[in-house]
Subunit: 414 residues, 2 copies
């Protein structure tokens, strides 16, 4: 164990996770902490309280991204940042996102404990509202706007399911936070590293502790609307019905078939289904469902995604079908200094490791546009995530944090 | 035109409908007025205001059923009652339910205008919370409890989707209503007639103005739960998924096939679909959907309904399937004095008419258990109901009310 890695305190890191998991805790042992809600605000406040005890200075930007800074010896050098998100899916787990935040904060504390100085400042970051399709339709709001401030206006105008804008939600959150310094979006960063649970089964299956992430897979999101006509369930004959659920069944079945992949590389999910008016005795007037489709290969993403509209329309018999693409993200490769340093450090520390791609999107995808970026994965139980039973071991959390600590220090002293 | 029928004021009746439709009006021209909500309370209050102007006395029972009484010459005689409901489906129309209430009230006003006395008292009734599967899972709460007070405790303990009990919802409504006399449930009634739009296309197709209702069809409601496991949409391979939407598709398709009827007599609707956690990037952990199934023939109801569980379970591949029957209602025939009088009066007034069954359930189904009961149907546009575009003509509304007026007077003087 190196001097830096040895300072990472496994027990403190675990306790921090336990404390954070209390905020928005669900009865089934998970976490429901939507972006900018009182729960998210409380989680951020707790982290700021810990930062204050260490005399770290904290800044916040227009998207609510929070930066906790441990000063470097070179005051003008851009920081090495690490972090992830504090929000969760509706029935999320105790590690997705918050692990990356707490690991980065643990690095700052470990260096403080050891009196270890770095040239560049180090920062632990909370990127706002990462979980798309939960409170807000889009995800990674904070990292997107930070990397590309031109997007900020549009992103701040986005609305949650209750019609509240991102801007208003942030203003609401700010009321519950202490006063922080203001950081302009796009303030230069030297390097960015994000630690995260894998959210897949590969590291566990292969008995590896560290995944050096090679890329984030491209993805497309679609909204499919099947539009029929409401009517009384008791009196309307079949021949006169335009039942949106009846038509949605073959539409969904045809899409399922289109995306079936014997090699099991395609990731295809119809995660959200909303029926109107959604009452037992009323013929459904409309079904709206989402498609989340991911694949490592751009050509496959184009080929399959471009068939969604025709296949969906061809499968309906009585209802109108509308298809809207909600997002399209290209594959983001992680190459250069950051993944190279992660790999070297992992080898030095002796952890079993592998290269691994990410099917999940992460804030690192966007920050990669403005500075050299990489990701560290650690295993999670059965690969289960976005689920209240999500789990990870204290040992793996600490291992990832040790790799992160060494990587940050190495990059900060370049 | 008879003396009684001539007093029915088509214009007043139409204006009353227009006024009522403002309460809970939706932008698309429909009505959203869930039982016991501020909107439902306001609708009831408006009717009570009109009643007060006529010096009619009003009573309310423990289920919130409201009875507006025009006295008869025999003060001890049980009343002839007529009415329907003031609540609607989430995106309901301007006539379903409220027509039966306003028609009955118009009869009381018409007789008052004409100074026409009856032996028995006449009452216009609002039966509470008729629309099942909207605010509350069960429907016809008011008429069920009135006919069978033993059910009242269970019905009052029922909860809406937000967890509020029927009892609490009624208490909330009572705060917004003037003080009324209390009527015990099950107070004897002489006869009951319910006027209603057909909510089907038959009268319009056959160019009949009046439908003399022969029966309400039997029905069964089921809840089907498809239980899988949540997971991350980006990282979880197909082989490790238990995707509840993926499994719900063949389950729903198999049920659709089971209930397919070339003769188009079966009424089969999967009206409500709820997905958990219902987020774009999360593999669905659970799909819950409802079945509403109706048929005139008891044997068919038993035969098809009893296959639901096996067919649903047989169609799923990875998920667990649970089937719960939510309700079962037998076919209710309308025979004897009430339909006979409706038929005789309709003939006397010269309206084109036919005998017609009802696939829809109505409060009359339950009141038929405690007194001779019948129903009058009038046409509605294209048969569309439980839909914001629901429509009916002022002339047809008045025709049904004229038949109702003659029928009530005839039965009141027996």
């Amino acid at each position: 164990m190196t001097t830096v890695a040895a300072r990472v305190d496994e027990k403190r890191l675990w306790t921090r996770h336990v404390d954070m998991a209390k905020i928005g805790a669900t009865p089934a042992g998970g976490v429901n902490r939507f972006a900018f809600t009182p729960e998210d605000t409380e989680a951020r406040k707790l982290l700021l309280t810990w930062a204050e005890k260490r005399d770290f200075k904290s800044e916040i930007d227009d998207l609510g991204n929070i930066f906790i800074r441990r000063a470097g010896t070179d005051k003008n050098a851009p920081p090495v940042v690490s972090g992830s998100h504090s929000d969760t899916q509706p029935k999320g787990g105790r590690f997705d996102g918050i692990y990356g935040v707490l690991a980065a904060f643990e690095v700052l504390e470990a260096l403080e404990d050891g009196g270890i100085k770095t040239k560049r400042p180090l920062e632990a970051v909370i990127w706002s509202a990462e979980e798309g399709g939960s409170r807000f339709p889009m995800g990674c709001l904070g990292s997107q706007a930070y990397a590309d401030p031109k997007k900020a206006v549009t992103l701040l105008d986005g609305k949650d399911n209750a019609g509240m804008t991102v801007k208003a939600a942030i203003a609401e959150m700010m009321k519950g936070l202490p006063k922080l310094g203001h950081r302009p979006l796009n303030t230069p960063l030297a390097y960015c590293i994000e630690a995260h649970i894998e959210q897949g089964p590969i590291l566990e299956e292969t008995k590896n502790t560290i995944g050096v992430v090679t890329a984030i897979h491209g993805q497309r999101w679609f909204k499919v609307e099947v539009i029929g006509e409401a009517g009384h369930a008791g009196n309307t004959p079949e021949r006169l019905r335009k039942d949106a659920v009846t038509d949605a069944i073959p539409v969904m079945a045809a899409l399922r078939k289109l995306f079936h992949d014997p090699d099991d590389v395609v990731r295809f999910t119809m995660g959200r289904v909303d029926v109107e008016p959604n009452a037992t005795a009323v013929i459904p007037a409309k079904v709206t469902f989402t498609i989340d489709f991911r694949h490592p290969d751009e050509a496959t993403i184009t080929r399959l995604g471009d068939q969604v509209e025709a296949v969906a329309k061809g499968a309906a018999s009585k209802c109108e079908v509308k298809v809207t693409q909600l997002r399209r993200a290209k594959t983001t490769p992680f190459t250069g200094a950051v993944p190279e340093t992660i790999l070297a450090v992992t080898k030095k520390l002796g952890y079993p490791h592998m290269h691994i791609p990410s099917g999940a999107g992460h804030d690192a995808r966007y920050i990669a546009d403005i500075c050299p970026t990489g990701m560290i994965f650690i295993p999670c139980w059965k690969g289960i995530s976005h689920n209240e039973t999500e789990d990870a071991t204290a040992g793996d959390l600490a291992a990832g944090t040790r790799v992160l600590a060494e990587t940050m220090v190495e990059l900060a002293n370049r």
